[in-house]
Subunit: 179 residues, 2 copies
Amino acid sequence: MNKTNKVFIATSLDGYIADKDGKIDWLYSVPNPDNEDHGYVEFMEGIDALVMGRKTFETVLGFDIEWPYDKPVFVLSNKLKEIPDSHKEKAFLVNGLLTDILSQLHKMGHYHLYIDGGTTIQSFLKEDLIDEITISQIPLLLGGGFSLFGELSDKVEFELIRTKVFLNQITQSSYKRKR
Amino acid sequence: MNKTNKVFIATSLDGYIADKDGKIDWLYSVPNPDNEDHGYVEFMEGIDALVMGRKTFETVLGFDIEWPYDKPVFVLSNKLKEIPDSHKEKAFLVNGLLTDILSQLHKMGHYHLYIDGGTTIQSFLKEDLIDEITISQIPLLLGGGFSLFGELSDKVEFELIRTKVFLNQITQSSYKRKR
Protein backbone atom coordinates (compact mmCIF):
# COMPACT_ATOMS: atom_id res chain seq x y z
CA MET A 1 0.00 0.00 0.00
CA ASN A 2 1.27 3.41 -1.00
CA LYS A 3 1.71 5.71 2.01
CA THR A 4 2.11 9.47 1.95
CA ASN A 5 2.65 12.20 4.48
CA LYS A 6 1.45 15.50 3.08
CA VAL A 7 1.69 19.13 4.11
CA PHE A 8 -0.84 21.72 2.93
CA ILE A 9 -0.10 25.15 4.32
CA ALA A 10 0.09 28.87 3.63
CA THR A 11 3.05 31.11 4.37
CA SER A 12 4.01 34.73 3.94
CA LEU A 13 6.61 35.56 1.28
CA ASP A 14 9.22 35.42 4.02
CA GLY A 15 8.15 31.92 4.99
CA TYR A 16 6.18 32.49 8.21
CA ILE A 17 3.04 30.56 9.14
CA ALA A 18 2.16 32.86 12.04
CA ASP A 19 3.15 36.46 12.68
CA LYS A 20 5.13 37.85 15.64
CA ASP A 21 1.99 37.80 17.80
CA GLY A 22 1.14 34.24 16.76
CA LYS A 23 -1.73 35.61 14.62
CA ILE A 24 -2.86 34.29 11.25
CA ASP A 25 -5.38 36.96 10.19
CA TRP A 26 -2.98 38.10 7.42
CA LEU A 27 -3.81 34.77 5.69
CA TYR A 28 -7.09 36.40 4.74
CA SER A 29 -5.60 39.66 3.47
CA VAL A 30 -6.39 38.80 -0.16
CA PRO A 31 -10.10 39.48 -0.79
CA ASN A 32 -11.96 36.20 -1.36
CA PRO A 33 -15.58 37.13 -2.12
CA ASP A 34 -16.58 33.67 -3.44
CA ASN A 35 -14.85 31.70 -0.67
CA GLU A 36 -12.33 30.09 -3.01
CA ASP A 37 -10.94 27.12 -1.06
CA HIS A 38 -7.48 27.07 -2.71
CA GLY A 39 -7.82 23.34 -3.35
CA TYR A 40 -8.31 22.50 0.34
CA VAL A 41 -11.48 20.40 -0.13
CA GLU A 42 -9.85 18.33 -2.86
CA PHE A 43 -6.72 17.92 -0.71
CA MET A 44 -8.79 16.76 2.28
CA GLU A 45 -10.59 14.18 0.14
CA GLY A 46 -7.23 12.55 -0.53
CA ILE A 47 -6.23 12.05 3.09
CA ASP A 48 -7.27 9.45 5.68
CA ALA A 49 -6.30 11.22 8.89
CA LEU A 50 -4.50 14.25 10.30
CA VAL A 51 -1.46 14.40 12.53
CA MET A 52 -0.93 17.69 14.33
CA GLY A 53 0.87 19.10 17.31
CA ARG A 54 -0.75 20.07 20.58
CA LYS A 55 -0.47 23.78 19.87
CA THR A 56 -2.28 23.49 16.54
CA PHE A 57 -4.92 21.26 18.16
CA GLU A 58 -5.51 23.78 20.94
CA THR A 59 -5.58 26.63 18.41
CA VAL A 60 -8.29 24.87 16.39
CA LEU A 61 -10.24 24.07 19.60
CA GLY A 62 -10.04 27.76 20.46
CA PHE A 63 -11.60 28.90 17.17
CA ASP A 64 -15.20 29.86 17.61
CA ILE A 65 -16.31 27.36 14.98
CA GLU A 66 -17.57 23.78 14.74
CA TRP A 67 -14.89 21.09 14.72
CA PRO A 68 -13.65 21.42 11.11
CA TYR A 69 -12.42 17.87 10.42
CA ASP A 70 -14.38 14.81 9.31
CA LYS A 71 -11.30 12.57 9.52
CA PRO A 72 -9.60 11.35 12.68
CA VAL A 73 -7.07 13.77 14.15
CA PHE A 74 -4.01 12.39 15.92
CA VAL A 75 -2.51 14.88 18.34
CA LEU A 76 1.20 14.57 18.97
CA SER A 77 1.93 15.51 22.55
CA ASN A 78 3.97 14.49 25.55
CA LYS A 79 2.43 17.24 27.64
CA LEU A 80 -1.29 16.87 27.07
CA LYS A 81 -2.78 14.29 29.49
CA GLU A 82 -6.01 13.67 27.62
CA ILE A 83 -8.26 14.90 24.83
CA PRO A 84 -11.17 16.96 26.22
CA ASP A 85 -14.40 14.94 26.53
CA SER A 86 -16.05 17.05 23.83
CA HIS A 87 -13.59 15.72 21.25
CA LYS A 88 -12.88 12.17 22.39
CA GLU A 89 -14.51 10.67 19.31
CA LYS A 90 -12.67 13.00 16.96
CA ALA A 91 -9.15 13.40 18.24
CA PHE A 92 -6.67 10.94 19.71
CA LEU A 93 -3.50 11.44 21.67
CA VAL A 94 -0.29 9.89 20.30
CA ASN A 95 3.32 10.08 21.39
CA GLY A 96 6.66 8.41 20.98
CA LEU A 97 8.86 8.03 17.93
CA LEU A 98 7.36 9.39 14.72
CA THR A 99 8.15 6.19 12.85
CA ASP A 100 6.32 4.15 15.54
CA ILE A 101 3.34 6.48 15.41
CA LEU A 102 3.27 6.12 11.62
CA SER A 103 3.32 2.30 11.82
CA GLN A 104 0.47 2.47 14.30
CA LEU A 105 -1.60 4.72 12.00
CA HIS A 106 -0.85 2.59 8.95
CA LYS A 107 -2.06 -0.50 10.86
CA MET A 108 -5.31 1.34 11.51
CA GLY A 109 -5.68 1.84 7.74
CA HIS A 110 -4.63 5.50 7.66
CA TYR A 111 -2.17 5.63 4.79
CA HIS A 112 -2.47 9.19 3.57
CA LEU A 113 -1.76 11.65 6.33
CA TYR A 114 -2.11 15.40 6.57
CA ILE A 115 0.80 16.56 8.72
CA ASP A 116 -0.06 19.94 10.21
CA GLY A 117 1.33 22.55 12.58
CA GLY A 118 4.74 24.22 12.45
CA THR A 119 6.55 22.15 15.08
CA THR A 120 5.11 18.87 13.82
CA ILE A 121 5.98 19.61 10.19
CA GLN A 122 9.54 20.51 11.22
CA SER A 123 9.86 17.26 13.22
CA PHE A 124 8.68 15.20 10.24
CA LEU A 125 11.03 17.07 7.87
CA LYS A 126 13.98 16.50 10.22
CA GLU A 127 13.40 12.75 9.83
CA ASP A 128 12.73 13.08 6.10
CA LEU A 129 9.19 11.79 6.55
CA ILE A 130 7.37 14.31 4.33
CA ASP A 131 6.44 13.12 0.84
CA GLU A 132 4.46 16.07 -0.49
CA ILE A 133 4.26 19.75 0.35
CA THR A 134 1.75 22.25 -0.99
CA ILE A 135 2.59 25.83 -0.08
CA SER A 136 0.33 28.80 -0.79
CA GLN A 137 2.27 32.04 -0.67
CA ILE A 138 0.46 35.14 0.52
CA PRO A 139 2.04 38.22 -1.08
CA LEU A 140 3.31 40.01 1.99
CA LEU A 141 6.36 40.12 4.25
CA LEU A 142 5.65 39.63 7.95
CA GLY A 143 9.20 40.43 9.01
CA GLY A 144 9.13 37.89 11.84
CA GLY A 145 7.04 35.13 13.39
CA PHE A 146 7.00 31.35 13.31
CA SER A 147 8.82 29.93 10.27
CA LEU A 148 7.42 26.96 8.38
CA PHE A 149 10.89 25.55 7.86
CA GLY A 150 13.55 24.96 10.48
CA GLU A 151 17.16 23.86 10.56
CA LEU A 152 17.99 20.61 8.78
CA SER A 153 21.24 18.69 8.84
CA ASP A 154 21.19 18.07 5.08
CA LYS A 155 19.73 19.37 1.85
CA VAL A 156 16.39 17.80 0.91
CA GLU A 157 15.43 17.75 -2.75
CA PHE A 158 11.90 18.08 -4.05
CA GLU A 159 10.26 17.99 -7.45
CA LEU A 160 7.70 20.59 -8.53
CA ILE A 161 4.40 18.87 -9.35
CA ARG A 162 2.30 21.94 -10.18
CA THR A 163 1.89 25.66 -9.62
CA LYS A 164 -1.47 27.45 -9.54
CA VAL A 165 -2.45 31.03 -8.87
CA PHE A 166 -5.53 31.67 -6.72
CA LEU A 167 -7.44 34.94 -6.55
CA ASN A 168 -4.87 36.36 -8.95
CA GLN A 169 -2.55 36.88 -5.93
CA ILE A 170 -1.74 33.64 -4.15
CA THR A 171 0.83 31.32 -5.72
CA GLN A 172 0.35 27.71 -4.73
CA SER A 173 3.09 25.22 -5.53
CA SER A 174 3.05 21.49 -4.83
CA TYR A 175 6.25 19.54 -4.39
CA LYS A 176 7.01 15.85 -4.16
CA ARG A 177 10.04 14.48 -2.30
CA LYS A 178 12.67 13.32 -4.79
CA ARG A 179 13.79 9.90 -3.57
CA MET B 1 10.42 60.31 -13.89
CA ASN B 2 9.32 56.93 -12.62
CA LYS B 3 11.92 55.32 -10.34
CA THR B 4 12.10 51.68 -9.33
CA ASN B 5 14.30 49.55 -7.13
CA LYS B 6 14.08 45.95 -8.18
CA VAL B 7 15.24 42.63 -6.79
CA PHE B 8 15.79 39.60 -9.02
CA ILE B 9 16.98 36.60 -7.06
CA ALA B 10 16.72 32.86 -6.51
CA THR B 11 16.11 31.15 -3.20
CA SER B 12 15.67 27.62 -1.88
CA LEU B 13 12.17 26.61 -0.78
CA ASP B 14 13.17 27.55 2.75
CA GLY B 15 14.17 31.05 1.64
CA TYR B 16 17.96 30.88 1.59
CA ILE B 17 20.13 32.60 -1.02
CA ALA B 18 23.32 30.81 0.06
CA ASP B 19 23.76 27.53 1.91
CA LYS B 20 25.46 26.97 5.29
CA ASP B 21 28.89 27.10 3.62
CA GLY B 22 28.02 30.27 1.70
CA LYS B 23 27.79 28.23 -1.51
CA ILE B 24 25.33 28.72 -4.36
CA ASP B 25 26.00 25.64 -6.50
CA TRP B 26 22.53 24.26 -5.56
CA LEU B 27 21.10 27.07 -7.73
CA TYR B 28 22.12 24.95 -10.69
CA SER B 29 20.65 21.69 -9.39
CA VAL B 30 17.85 21.74 -11.98
CA PRO B 31 19.26 20.54 -15.32
CA ASN B 32 19.33 23.42 -17.82
CA PRO B 33 20.59 21.96 -21.12
CA ASP B 34 19.58 24.98 -23.25
CA ASN B 35 20.87 27.62 -20.83
CA GLU B 36 17.42 29.01 -20.10
CA ASP B 37 18.08 32.45 -18.55
CA HIS B 38 14.91 32.57 -16.37
CA GLY B 39 14.09 36.05 -17.69
CA TYR B 40 17.41 37.52 -16.52
CA VAL B 41 18.38 39.11 -19.85
CA GLU B 42 14.97 40.79 -20.16
CA PHE B 43 15.20 41.96 -16.54
CA MET B 44 18.68 43.43 -17.09
CA GLU B 45 17.46 45.33 -20.17
CA GLY B 46 15.02 47.16 -17.93
CA ILE B 47 17.55 48.46 -15.43
CA ASP B 48 20.01 51.37 -15.58
CA ALA B 49 22.47 50.37 -12.87
CA LEU B 50 23.11 47.89 -10.06
CA VAL B 51 23.49 48.51 -6.36
CA MET B 52 25.15 45.71 -4.42
CA GLY B 53 26.94 45.13 -1.17
CA ARG B 54 30.65 44.62 -0.80
CA LYS B 55 30.33 40.91 -0.18
CA THR B 56 28.37 40.34 -3.39
CA PHE B 57 30.82 42.53 -5.31
CA GLU B 58 33.79 40.54 -3.99
CA THR B 59 31.99 37.27 -4.71
CA VAL B 60 31.42 38.29 -8.34
CA LEU B 61 35.05 39.48 -8.63
CA GLY B 62 36.11 36.07 -7.34
CA PHE B 63 34.21 34.15 -10.03
CA ASP B 64 36.52 32.89 -12.73
CA ILE B 65 34.52 34.70 -15.43
CA GLU B 66 34.56 37.99 -17.30
CA TRP B 67 32.87 40.90 -15.54
CA PRO B 68 29.21 40.04 -16.14
CA TYR B 69 27.59 43.50 -16.09
CA ASP B 70 27.30 46.03 -18.89
CA LYS B 71 25.68 48.61 -16.59
CA PRO B 72 27.40 50.61 -13.85
CA VAL B 73 27.63 48.81 -10.52
CA PHE B 74 27.47 50.85 -7.31
CA VAL B 75 29.05 49.04 -4.39
CA LEU B 76 27.67 49.89 -0.96
CA SER B 77 30.48 49.76 1.56
CA ASN B 78 31.90 51.56 4.54
CA LYS B 79 34.78 49.11 4.77
CA LEU B 80 36.12 48.94 1.23
CA LYS B 81 38.64 51.77 0.60
CA GLU B 82 38.60 51.63 -3.16
CA ILE B 83 37.50 49.64 -6.19
CA PRO B 84 40.38 47.56 -7.63
CA ASP B 85 42.06 49.25 -10.63
CA SER B 86 40.82 46.49 -12.95
CA HIS B 87 37.21 47.55 -12.33
CA LYS B 88 37.43 51.33 -11.86
CA GLU B 89 35.42 52.04 -15.02
CA LYS B 90 32.76 49.48 -14.12
CA ALA B 91 32.15 49.73 -10.41
CA PHE B 92 31.87 52.69 -8.06
CA LEU B 93 32.01 52.94 -4.30
CA VAL B 94 29.06 54.54 -2.51
CA ASN B 95 28.19 54.96 1.14
CA GLY B 96 25.97 56.91 3.49
CA LEU B 97 22.19 56.91 3.84
CA LEU B 98 20.36 54.80 1.28
CA THR B 99 18.01 57.66 0.42
CA ASP B 100 20.99 59.96 -0.23
CA ILE B 101 22.66 57.32 -2.39
CA LEU B 102 19.42 56.92 -4.35
CA SER B 103 19.12 60.69 -4.95
CA GLN B 104 22.70 60.70 -6.16
CA LEU B 105 22.03 57.82 -8.60
CA HIS B 106 18.80 59.41 -9.84
CA LYS B 107 20.70 62.66 -10.56
CA MET B 108 23.11 60.64 -12.68
CA GLY B 109 20.12 59.36 -14.70
CA HIS B 110 19.94 55.90 -13.13
CA TYR B 111 16.26 55.48 -12.37
CA HIS B 112 15.75 51.74 -12.53
CA LEU B 113 18.04 49.97 -10.13
CA TYR B 114 18.83 46.32 -9.58
CA ILE B 115 19.34 45.91 -5.84
CA ASP B 116 21.43 42.81 -5.22
CA GLY B 117 23.04 40.89 -2.38
CA GLY B 118 21.40 39.63 0.79
CA THR B 119 22.52 42.32 3.22
CA THR B 120 21.80 45.13 0.74
CA ILE B 121 18.33 43.79 -0.11
CA GLN B 122 17.52 43.52 3.61
CA SER B 123 18.71 47.10 4.21
CA PHE B 124 16.52 48.41 1.38
CA LEU B 125 13.51 46.40 2.62
CA LYS B 126 13.97 47.73 6.18
CA GLU B 127 13.52 51.25 4.77
CA ASP B 128 10.69 50.13 2.46
CA LEU B 129 12.71 51.09 -0.61
CA ILE B 130 12.02 48.00 -2.74
CA ASP B 131 9.37 48.39 -5.44
CA GLU B 132 9.56 45.05 -7.22
CA ILE B 133 10.80 41.59 -6.27
CA THR B 134 11.20 38.61 -8.58
CA ILE B 135 11.95 35.38 -6.74
CA SER B 136 12.80 32.11 -8.45
CA GLN B 137 12.29 29.18 -6.10
CA ILE B 138 14.57 26.19 -6.48
CA PRO B 139 12.73 23.05 -5.30
CA LEU B 140 14.92 22.03 -2.40
CA LEU B 141 15.34 22.71 1.31
CA LEU B 142 18.80 23.81 2.38
CA GLY B 143 18.02 23.64 6.08
CA GLY B 144 20.19 26.63 6.88
CA GLY B 145 22.27 29.40 5.32
CA PHE B 146 21.80 33.07 4.53
CA SER B 147 18.11 34.07 4.35
CA LEU B 148 16.87 36.44 1.67
CA PHE B 149 14.52 38.12 4.12
CA GLY B 150 15.36 39.50 7.53
CA GLU B 151 13.50 40.98 10.45
CA LEU B 152 11.18 43.89 9.69
CA SER B 153 9.37 46.13 12.13
CA ASP B 154 6.11 46.01 10.18
CA LYS B 155 4.24 43.95 7.63
CA VAL B 156 4.94 44.94 4.02
CA GLU B 157 2.27 44.18 1.44
CA PHE B 158 2.98 43.22 -2.15
CA GLU B 159 0.89 42.46 -5.21
CA LEU B 160 1.55 39.45 -7.41
CA ILE B 161 2.31 40.60 -10.97
CA ARG B 162 3.01 37.22 -12.58
CA THR B 163 4.11 33.65 -11.95
CA LYS B 164 6.06 31.55 -14.43
CA VAL B 165 7.54 28.07 -14.27
CA PHE B 166 11.00 27.52 -15.75
CA LEU B 167 12.46 24.14 -16.68
CA ASN B 168 9.27 22.59 -15.35
CA GLN B 169 10.75 22.93 -11.82
CA ILE B 170 11.51 26.52 -10.90
CA THR B 171 8.61 28.75 -9.90
CA GLN B 172 9.31 32.41 -10.52
CA SER B 173 6.95 34.99 -9.04
CA SER B 174 7.16 38.76 -9.46
CA TYR B 175 5.70 41.11 -6.88
CA LYS B 176 5.12 44.84 -6.81
CA ARG B 177 5.03 46.85 -3.60
CA LYS B 178 1.43 47.80 -2.76
CA ARG B 179 1.54 51.50 -1.89
